[in-house]
Structures are given as C-alpha cells and as structure tokens.
C-alpha cells in the first residue's frame, strides 16, 4: 500500500503503468484519476486544495486499510495533491489490483467515495470575479451508505 500526499504534479500514465506492471498474480487493475474541471462557461483561474497535514495521511491510510480488509485485493496506491492547481491538472489518483475485476472495481469506488467525504481536503475555486469554497454534495455523503 502506497499513499502520497504532495504539492507536486504526478505523471498519471507513468504511475498507472508502473503500478500495473508490478502486480504479479493479479488479473485486474483499476485506476481512477480526478482532473480539475473549468467552471461552466470557463474562467477558473485555479483550484486551491487545502488539507490537514498529519491527519490527511492517517485518514487515507485508514480508508485504504479498510478497502484491503473488505475486498480480495493486491496492492493499493493513492496519490492526492494539495495547493493551487490549474484547469486540466490532475488532482489525485487511486489504483487497485485484485485477482478478479469485481474486487478491483469495488475497492477503487470505495476508496473514491471515502476520499471524497472523509479525507481532510477542501477545495476552493478561484475565478476572475472571486473565490468560493466548493460545497460538499449530498450525493457524495449518500454514496457512503452503500458500503
């Protein structure tokens, strides 16, 4: 299990390729990557991501450990950035490996649902005419109930 919380960009293709290449005995690898979307109609200058140093790593580790307990998985990888990001930049990624595809998909979706609402990150959209904290969506909270 590898967890990285960093300001620097990461190379999604290189990370995904290296992760898949080292999964001996696993039949399935799933990746997710989140990308900064521009606002409707454009104008996003930056997406600023604040986090809680110290707690962030612990919270992600707890989420990933639970995923590894619940499903028959091999390795898990989580990378999450903080700081200012431009539209089109990658915010984060997860990768999961498992003998069978259902476990790899379930573990990846579980990781994403909990990273979204239970890891201490906060997003702020900075546009030409001001900045706004992104509000948590009810559907993201609801998504936790399926697990």
């Amino acid at each position: 299990m590898e967890i990285r919380v960093q300001a620097e960009p990461f190379d999604f293709g290189a990370e995904a390729g290296a992760f898949a290449a080292r999964q001996a005995g696993m039949g399935a690898v799933v990746t997710f990557t989140g990308i900064v979307r521009d606002l409707e109609g454009g104008g996003l200058r930056a997406m600023e991501i604040e986090h809680y140093p110290g707690m962030t790593e612990k919270a992600i580790e707890a989420i990933a450990s639970e995923a590894a307990d619940r499903w028959h998985t091999g390795d898990l990888l989580v990378i999450h950035r903080y700081g200012p990001l431009a539209p089109g930049e990658m915010i984060m990624m997860v990768a999961t490996a498992a003998p069978h595809r259902a476990d790899a998909f379930q573990a990846a979706e579980f990781l994403m649902d909990f990273l979204k609402s239970r890891a201490p990150f906060w997003k702020k959209e900075v546009a030409q005419d001001g900045a706004d904290w992104v509000a948590a969506r009810d559907e993201d909270e609801d998504a936790l109930n399926r697990w």
Partner: protein, 81 residues
C-alpha cells in the same frame, strides 16, 4: 491544547490556530468558550451542523470529551477526491 481551523472556518476566524491553556470538558463547551470571545468565532460556529470536528486527528463529534486531548480541529464537510 491546539485548536486548528481549516477552509472557511479558518477564513472567518481570521487565523489558523489557537492555543488553549485549560481546555473545558467537551468539544461543545470549547465552542461555547470560543464564541463568547469574539463575534468572528460566533460567526464561524453559527451552524454546527455545517461543521465537522476532529479530535487528535480522528473525526469525532461535539460531545467528545477533551481530557488528555492535544489537538482539536474544526472544518467544513470535506471535499477531497
């Protein structure tokens, strides 16, 4: 005990951190103490249902006791991923 603020809680209060010499019994009492200090705390804590609290870096709730606690943090619902 350190009290940390993140995102718009930090912005409304105007700084990221307070140090409390003698913590009260629970998180809720801590909030009441802070609100009685200054209007900007009262503004930040006006709607507790819009806030989350972590006690020693674990998600917790407003009834959690503070005995032996080193760090409390207040923040809005998280928006990671």
């Amino acid at each position: 005990m350190d009290v940390l603020y993140f995102a718009w809680v930090r912005e409304r209060i105007g700084h990221p951190k307070d140090c409390i010499e003698t913590p009260p019994g629970t998180v809720r009492e801590l909030v009441e103490d802070l609100c009685s200090r200054e209007e900007r705390y009262a503004a930040a804590f006006a709607d507790l249902s819009a806030l989350r609290v972590a006690v020693d870096q674990q998600l917790s709730d407003f009834d959690a006791p503070l005995d032996g606690v080193r760090e409390v943090a207040f923040f809005p619902p998280m928006t990671g991923g």
